[in-house]
């Protein structure tokens, strides 16, 4: 893995906007093509193999959590437990997730798994692919995200109700809308009948006890880019348990377990010999150099990095009331003050590609930049 400084394309902003990528910059560039990462094929095969193995282990960990009723560790409301288990037992459709890895000195370690509402899908699947077409069409990239999304939606079609598939996200975020509409694009290409319906436009018919769209048509299949922990935290979410249509929500509710950082100590307890896992616990008693993470947090909020008795870094935020986990410190590699985290995508049941986000410090936060990659 090498970091290569390169000249951005002339008018790169225009090039990415033509793809519908409107959130390439905030106060600072988010899409950053002044550099890229170079991998050799052995490294990519290693990342791919690790992702596939971890996906299998994660499924085993979900079963373990259910068998041993560990839900309180995950701060999951009791009322939802039967529903979560039902979505697991009935194998409700799920389509994607993103492992975040630290890759340093040839060793890959799992930092967390974004299993419910992973973003940067469009950057990874589309924007960096077109970037590489401009840079050198003959170069390869760990990126079959687009193909795999279309193929898996086509496969899932038989597992959905014979009814439109709705796609939903919040109205206020162009990033969320882009990710959601990209997903819908792939579903359309997979042969599905789709609708866009913003999350706060979802209706509930208290008489019929079903969810409704804006035309008062029942919703039976819905992809939502909206976290389960928010859904169960809002009173409206209780309707899911009453829903007579038994709507299929994608990602399904059992992803609440995998997207929660409490899964990290569970994975470590179950698979301590796995080379891709870091020691992780529900208390810090056994660790001297560690990262304290809220079990529910986003964009690197409320993280503490501790080495010995020294606080290396701390981030602010509003998370943490549900509890924390403690994971052995494994610093991201330092490329002249740039710290990349590898996001490895699982689509369906398979590794599908990679996106890299860089930060100026050890915590990948909401100021991180997406940096493309290629394979030599």
């Amino acid at each position: 893995m090498k970091r290569i400084a390169i000249q951005p394309r002339n008018q790169w902003q225009e090039a990415v906007e033509k793809l519908g990528f409107g959130f390439h910059s905030t106060n600072v560039p988010y899409w950053d093509e002044s550099a890229c990462y170079e991998f050799n094929m052995d490294e990519i095969l290693y990342i791919e193999k690790a992702s596939a193995e971890l996906w299998d282990l994660c499924l085993g960990a979900v079963q373990h959590v259910m068998d041993n009723k560990l839900y309180s560790r995950f701060s999951i409301p009791e009322a939802y437990i039967p529903y979560i288990e039902k979505t697991w037992m009935e194998d409700h459709p799920a389509i994607y997730g993103r492992f975040d890895f630290a890759y340093r000195d040839g060793v890959l370690k799992l930092l967390e798994f974004n299993a419910d509402t992973p973003t940067s899908l469009y950057e990874a699947g589309i924007v960096q692919w077109f970037w590489l077409q401009d840079l050198d069409k003959n170069k390869d990239q760990f990126n079959s995200i687009h193909d795999k999304l279309i193929a898996y939606w086509r496969y899932l079609k038989n597992y959905l109700y014979p009814s439109p598939l709705y796609f939903s996200c919040v109205k206020q975020s162009l990033e969320d809308l882009t990710n959601t509409e990209y997903m819908r694009d792939c579903a359309i290409q997979g042969g599905l009948d789709t609708r866009l319906l913003f999350i706060d436009d979802i209706g509930w018919d208290p008489a019929g006890e079903v969810f409704m769209d804006m035309e008062d048509q029942p919703i039976r299949n819905i992809f939502k880019l909206y976290p389960w922990e928010w859904m169960v935290g809002e009173e409206f979410g209780g309707n899911i348990l009453k829903d007579k249509n038994k709507t299929l929500w994608i990602e399904p509710a059992w992803k609440m377990i995998l997207s929660n950082k409490a899964i990290l100590p569970v994975l470590w307890e179950l698979y301590p010999d796995c080379p891709y896992l870091l020691p992780a616990y529900f208390d810090n008693g056994r660790l001297t150099d560690y990262v304290r993470k809220p079990i529910l947090s986003r964009e690197g909020a409320n993280i503490q990095l501790i080495r010995g008795n020294t606080l290396l870094q701390e981030t602010g935020g509003d998370y943490g009331k549900e509890g924390y986990i403690y994971q052995q410190l494994y610093p991201l590699p330092d490329f002249d003050g740039n710290y990349p985290v590898l996001g490895s995508w699982i689509i369906g049941q398979e590794p599908a590609g990679m996106g890299i986000r860089e930060s100026r410090n050890l915590v990948t936060d909401n100021l991180s930049r997406f940096v493309p990659h290629y394979i030599v």
Binding site: K171, L174, D200, P206, P227, W230
Partner: protein, 107 residues
């Protein structure tokens, strides 16, 4: 090869271009000023060809009643009247707005 050989986007390019419609009055961070609903799949207006038309097609309209704003529908002749909440009393029983307290899921 580890990369997709060919990529075609049938929906997102034109649709999302409209969401990046700059406006000095309304622009604030990454907020989106497009509104759509289940009656208005983007493909319905795909051939309009200009982003500004998207912008206006999905612009919501509504009215104030006792100081409370009620959204009634969308400016677009392409959108089914059944999609407009305003004059249809049969729809008054549906509860909306229950989800959506979060701002963005970015992870």
């Amino acid at each position: 090869m580890k990369k997709t050989k060919h990529i075609q986007l049938i929906l997102i390019t034109a649709a999302l271009a409209s969401c990046h419609h700059p406006s000095n009055d309304w622009q604030s961070g990454n907020r989106v000023y497009v509104r759509s609903d289940s009656t208005a799949p983007y493909t319905r207006t795909y051939n309009y060809g200009h982003a500004a038309l998207w912008f206006y097609a999905f612009r919501p309209y509504g009215s104030y009643y006792n100081g409370v704003y009620r959204r009634a529908g969308y400016y677009s002749s392409a959108i089914s009247e059944r999609g407009n909440i305003g004059g249809n009393t049969g729809k008054m029983g549906i509860v909306r707005g229950g989800f959506g307290s979060g701002y963005s899921v970015s992870s």
